[in-house]
């Protein structure tokens, strides 16, 4: 299984990848993208099984990335990992086609529970 982690912060990508490992997803292939535009290219080259994306990024936000993917007909499994977990954000995420929103800070258990539902 291939998981794409999208975040403009290398530190946060490291945290997400480490937490994936702690949550039991260490055997999966993990790719990284530093922004929405880079992520789009990676996805268009070969759709991953899951995209974990930050919301707020320069050039192309996570929401814009998801909206672009859905507009292109992609049904790739997509979830947000973001510092904002308000009901409004969760609603926007769901409306755009995200399967979940994990708010930071997060634990390996929280990630495991969420990802087990979709993978």
């Amino acid at each position: 299984m291939r998981i794409l982690v999208v975040d403009d912060s290398k530190a946060m990508r490291t945290i997400v990848i480490r937490t994936l490992r702690q949550a039991g997803y260490g055997d999966h292939v993990v790719q990284e993208a530093a922004n929405g535009i880079e992520a789009l290219k990676v996805i268009q080259a070969g759709e991953p099984d899951l995209v974990l994306s930050d919301w707020n990024m320069p050039d192309m936000s996570g929401l814009e990335l998801l909206q672009t993917l859905r507009a292109q007909g992609s049904k790739v499994r997509f979830g947000f990992v973001t510092s904002e977990g308000s009901p409004e954000m969760r609603h926007k995420a769901a409306e755009a086609g995200a399967l979940f929103l994990i708010s930071k800070p997060f634990t390996a258990d929280a990630m495991k529970v969420t990802l087990n539902k979709v993978l």
Partner: protein, 156 residues
């Protein structure tokens, strides 16, 4: 609308423990200025129903330790760019959580990080609302919430 010092303390403690595995101890009084030591300040702005900013000030030593923990390397090997990245992300997470406590809807900016010696980050046309000062393994840390003064007029 008031975000209490207790709220800042709770959020900061949770973030520091969850992301870094470190404890922060609240200090009852405003910590001495960072003075002549190197320090960093991260800042995220909040716009919308609430106009303001959240800042996170840290000694470079503490930020370097945080970078070492996050990246899984010896802190002394971390670059200034990596230290800035980590502090920016910690600011983002704290800011995002505090944003949930102020009136919405509102938008959180990307973090900006400044570093140096004897500097002061100001957000024009804003005032300090609440701040909390901490000690983390002997190093100072401070989180502030600023509010745009135009918001004060909205309350009148």
């Amino acid at each position: 609308m008031v975000v209490a010092e207790n709220d800042i303390c709770q959020v900061t403690q949770d973030v520091w423990a969850s992301v870094l595995g470190l404890c922060v101890r609240s200090l009852p009084t405003r910590a001495p200025a960072f003075g002549d030591e190197n320090s960093l300040t991260g800042c995220v702005q909040i716009t919308g129903a609430f106009e303001g900013a959240v800042t996170l000030e840290s000694s470079t030593e503490l930020a370097r330790r945080a970078a070492g923990i996050v990246l899984g390397v010896d802190p002394v090997t971390t670059s200034l760019e990596e230290i800035r990245d980590v502090l920016g992300e910690l600011t983002n997470i704290i800011g995002g959580n505090l944003k949930g406590l102020v009136p919405g809807p509102s938008h959180l900016s990307l973090p900006a990080v400044v570093d140096g010696v004897e500097f002061r980050l100001t957000v024009p046309r804003s005032r300090l609302v609440t701040e909390a000062t901490f000690d983390c393994e002997g190093e100072p840390l401070r989180v502030t919430i600023l509010r745009g003064i135009e918001n004060d007029k909205d309350d009148e």
